[in-house]
């Protein structure tokens, strides 16, 4: 039995035709372009969010700086008021009103207390309180995306 000589196209030809179909190439281009647009949009959105947050934080810093100055002024004012209320003359008159009187030297009894040390004069030092300075803020909080990319590229080049 002989098989008739029918012209059956090669499968390879179909695959090739599919790959080079114009609509498919167009879709690839469109897909790539859309992907790039989406990526750019995402980066832009991220950048916008970070920038807006940085701006809000910056505004808060400005407000807090003014608040600190105002608070310091109020604190100084209150401290002076307190000092007026506890001035030597005010305390003396209050003590006299309460029935106290100045002590005389022959009324004092001195006792030997082991371990007693004479009180030292006033100490105002506050060095234990660390203060946040601008230089201590990590760059992530004030660096733009472009700055970061530039720094990363520079450092990569430097490493190479």
């Amino acid at each position: 039995m002989n098989i008739p000589n029918v012209n059956i196209p090669n499968v390879t030809h179909y695959i090739h035709a599919y790959k080079v179909a114009p609509w498919r190439i167009q879709r690839q281009w469109i897909g790539s372009a859309l992907l790039a647009v989406v990526a750019l949009a995402m980066v832009a959105t991220l950048y916008l969010i970070v920038t807006s947050r940085a701006a809000i934080a910056g505004r808060e810093i400005q407000d807090l700086t003014f608040s600190i100055n105002a608070s310091q002024q109020v604190s100084g004012d209150l401290q002076t008021q307190l000092a007026s209320l506890t001035s030597a003359s005010a305390m003396e008159s209050r003590a006299l009103e309460l029935g106290f009187r100045p002590m005389k030297s022959d009324e004092v009894e001195y006792l030997v207390v082991s371990g007693y040390t004479e009180p030292e004069p006033f100490i105002l030092s506050t060095t234990q309180n660390m203060q946040l300075s601008a230089l201590a803020i990590p760059p992530e909080y004030n660096q733009s995306l472009l700055d970061w990319m530039d720094e990363t590229i520079s450092s990569t080049r430097g490493m190479q």
Partner: protein, 583 residues
Amino acid sequence: MRQQYARRTQVLTSVLGFVAFAIIVQMTRIQNSAEAAVFSQQAQNYAYELKTYYPDRGEIYDRNGRLLAGNKTVYEIGVDLTTVRDAHAIAFAVSSELGMDYNQLMDAIQNPPEGISYVVLADFVEAQQALALQELKKALQEGAAEGTMGGLTGLQFKSHPHRSYPENSLASNLIGFVTREGRGYFGVEGKYDTLLAGNAVQVLVPTDPNKAFEIPRVSNGTTLILSINRDLQASAEEILDNALSTYGAQGGTIVVMDPRNGELLAVANSSRMDLNKFWDYSTIYYDQDHQYNPAISTPYEPGSVTKILTMAAALDSSTVTPNTTYLDTGSILIGGVTIQNWNREPWGEQSMVGCLQHSLNVCMVTITAQMGASTFYNYLDAFGFGHLTGVDLDGEVAGRLKVPGDSDWYPVDLGTNSFGQGVTATPLQVMMAVSSVANNGRMVVPHALYAMVRDGRQYNVPAQFAGTPIKEATADTLSEMLAISLEAEASQALVPGYRIAGKTGTAQIPVDGLYDSTQTNTSFIGWGPVDDPRFMIYVWLERPSESIWGAETAAPVFAEMAEKTILLMDIPPDYIRQQLVAK
């Protein structure tokens, strides 16, 4: 169909491409237009704001942390002329609350200088008054019809700090004051004005919130901690005021110092002023006889307290010993002038202790003559006479020490200088000189500053010494001689339970070139406990009317001050301290 679709796509792409291109072209055009440059310039103008930061003036505390000078909030009240609605209402409200002239206020609001949009009506207004005006403004605004402005619209309040002294006149001569221009005068305020005021900084502050970290942090002025003790200062002033009234003195000074390190513990003068009313200065201190701080700026002839230094020089130069005797005939001739004792009587044979005990002028002239002018004046120079002490207070004046070779020095001056006449010194100069006797021969530089605090760090001021004019053995011997002489005399300066060394002084006051025996300056300088001096007190009373003698006026004031000092400084009696040492 497919071709049609392709054509539509091409058209759409072209249109969109054209639109995109047009947008880019327009953006580029706008970015590079002339208007863009103007807008860019405007934006840059608002990007930074030139601001001047005036740091708060540093505070002043006493050694126990009690505030002596601080800052309080006061207000500048002004009018924004662009928003004023009712000038009459503003003028009426401000004049009623602040007691200002209504017409002047109206004139200021209605006839401002050309080009001015803000007028200051009053400055340094107390917070209470400013608050009352603010409340009134708020009430009028709330009461105004909807959509209209209140009657005080345009009235503005700006707060700023202002120097305030909670203790009013306490230690005023030592602290000094600050004027409304922010400049310090006299005392610590004057001496450390630059430190206290800090440095004003003029900077460009970015308005861009992303550059908030560029906002400068301006350090406030340096805070000072003084060596004075507020309670001791208050007691010194009270004791001095009582002494003026008891002895009828025209003025006076009490200074308390730690002779070991020169720390001033109290400086009281009779003329004091409320530092919150600094404008009274010119009415209180109106001439040369009314100095701001006589303890450092009024040299006078100290009289017999100087005998301590004469005796120190004589002992140190081996001219005499404590047991050296001489025959006191009641008078001695020197430089053609006869010098007599205070009672014009002879005292017979006297030792050097008796010489100090009876405060004999003839004795002093005798030993000074033996010592020689050169030795004597070299010692006085080493004791700091004729020089500034270097105390850290504004307005110090050095007394005058005439020496051989000066055109106005005469041989008789050698005699009179030996008992403190014909030579001038301030109370602090005498204290500095005598500190060498109380402090084993080392002379301390008096100072009022204990420590300074800047940026949270405290820097303590170390003691400074101005040389060793006498040997340690001389200082110890003389301290003992002075203590014995006070005890033998049963001086009114003695304090029960404590051994004190010291010396009275009575100096006649020169009037028109002649000494007036009825007008004297009486003084006393003493320190204790003798074996471990913790305090040195100088008392000076000007022209006491009850008695002309230092032993009857300044000495009891010294005792009262010493007793108070002992109480406030918790100094136990000698026998307790000796028990402690024995253990």
